[in-house]
Symmetry: C2
Subunit: 325 residues, 2 copies
Amino acid sequence: MHAHPKAPAPPAALSVHAVPSVLISEVGPRDGLQSVQAVMPTAHKLAWIDALHASGLREIEVGSFVPARTLPQMADVAEVVRHATALPGWTVMALVPNLRGAVAALEAGVHKLTVPVSASEAHSLANVRRSRAEMVAVVREIVALRDATAPGVPVEIGMSTAFGCTLQGAVAEDEVVWLAEQLVAAGADEIGLSDTTGMANPLQVRRLFQRVRAAIGDKTGSAHLHNTRGLGLANCLAAYDVGVRTFDASLGGLGGCPYAPGASGNVVTEDLVFMFEAMGVDTGVDLEHLIAARAPLRAGLPDEPLYGMVPDAGVPAGFRDLRRL
Amino acid sequence: MHAHPKAPAPPAALSVHAVPSVLISEVGPRDGLQSVQAVMPTAHKLAWIDALHASGLREIEVGSFVPARTLPQMADVAEVVRHATALPGWTVMALVPNLRGAVAALEAGVHKLTVPVSASEAHSLANVRRSRAEMVAVVREIVALRDATAPGVPVEIGMSTAFGCTLQGAVAEDEVVWLAEQLVAAGADEIGLSDTTGMANPLQVRRLFQRVRAAIGDKTGSAHLHNTRGLGLANCLAAYDVGVRTFDASLGGLGGCPYAPGASGNVVTEDLVFMFEAMGVDTGVDLEHLIAARAPLRAGLPDEPLYGMVPDAGVPAGFRDLRRL
């Protein structure tokens, strides 16, 4: 692998910190902000990202490289990426729906790309106006670009509506597995599964992640689960039980999918971190600092409701000892 | 076993309905109402209980036999028991903290008694002004009364603070196992474990239920888990994973423990039923009817906040089919 000016160095601090038992991938600045009407001013975004970084998070999705006329919330994404990548010890990701977005994201210096591909044909057409097969071709183009210009940058797929679709209804598990195989064949490094519409249940999460892992092995990526019907943490536990070790979550539960009617509610990062830490599973995240990161989020989006039980209830006294009983 | 006028017939419809894969034990009229300041008028209680019955629930805890001066919410408990036991096909339980309560509950015709015994010595003294050893002796008295006057009525223990205590801090698992053994030796039929203070995590739930089952076998009873820190359903899933088949929950998440500072939030029955039904695990409960039972609860307690994600999000279209994919 040759060096290239656009290929970022691997995050320096990862090698000196203990490897966390699970990786919490904070998606609020991307998934959260693109789901709300208000536009968070850039200075507030940067302060929020600084606070998230201070909590010990090791991965963050900071924005989408999409036209500003489509998502005005993301007009400053290149500046946000430059700010986030200047902070040490974490992987900075951005969402790119197409080749043009990937060019801009690599130009800005992201550590990792994530490409949304819908498992539901109906959702794919509604969300990006492309069929699934067309999106596989887009991924192939993005991988070729990456290989040519930034070979150190992984390309992850977030496979949306993998557990069901409000537009189409059921999504056959055979099609999820088929699509995962197509995407790996197109050169993607990781395939994560997203419960975009809040329809997943724990048995389904276990079964589908196991089937996908049987098909594509270690290229099986993160679990992106929603709390729409209260099952967010139960579904994360189910994914953990079958070997998933990367979990997407959003501070305050901000976000969801604006194109899936009725869908809302990312898993709350604070509650997810509490669950794993209480279980003795290291996240690398300091819960008090994480909860403190709600203040700059509130400052930047004063009218948006924030979710989460742990911020209200507080952590139990001495909970790091309790978990070892 | 001889017949006795105080021994109720077993609930008739249990034998003609399919046995549910899990038993949802609704505790709202007891645990919920004794946790709120307002007193629900009797007519509203009865209408609410009728609506819960119509949803297909097979077990309900309708009240506590405690002095009305202590808990004015429970002054009408005998009337409520008589009303609930006249409805077919479910098991009507009442909480009794002492022998006097058990006499009154059996007199009223309950199908099953539940006795709260704290795993934490500090919580036991604060909650019922008795040590754990004294409570074991109380259970022995109640069992003797039951044997003499109502041999068909099971005596269940709800072991509170089994996963931690806000007053005492950690509760050693060895003590939980020891107490479960003492209670079985005293004649109790089932020992359930309660996360009174919302401190349980899924690994702890699996470990402790497994340890208790290893000690007392099939006398291991229900999981009574709280959603204080958002882990309610994840903890229920964890308990299900290790063989627990009875789950306490409260409509709208009403209730908690008024004597454990900061504790609140029973598992929401609606979300719990959705989780199991979505997994294909039969609860016997009709979710639409269950959600409809929130209306009489609201009518009787208009100022009390109700929780639950499924009532807001609705069930996904065709979710009974989705679960089988």
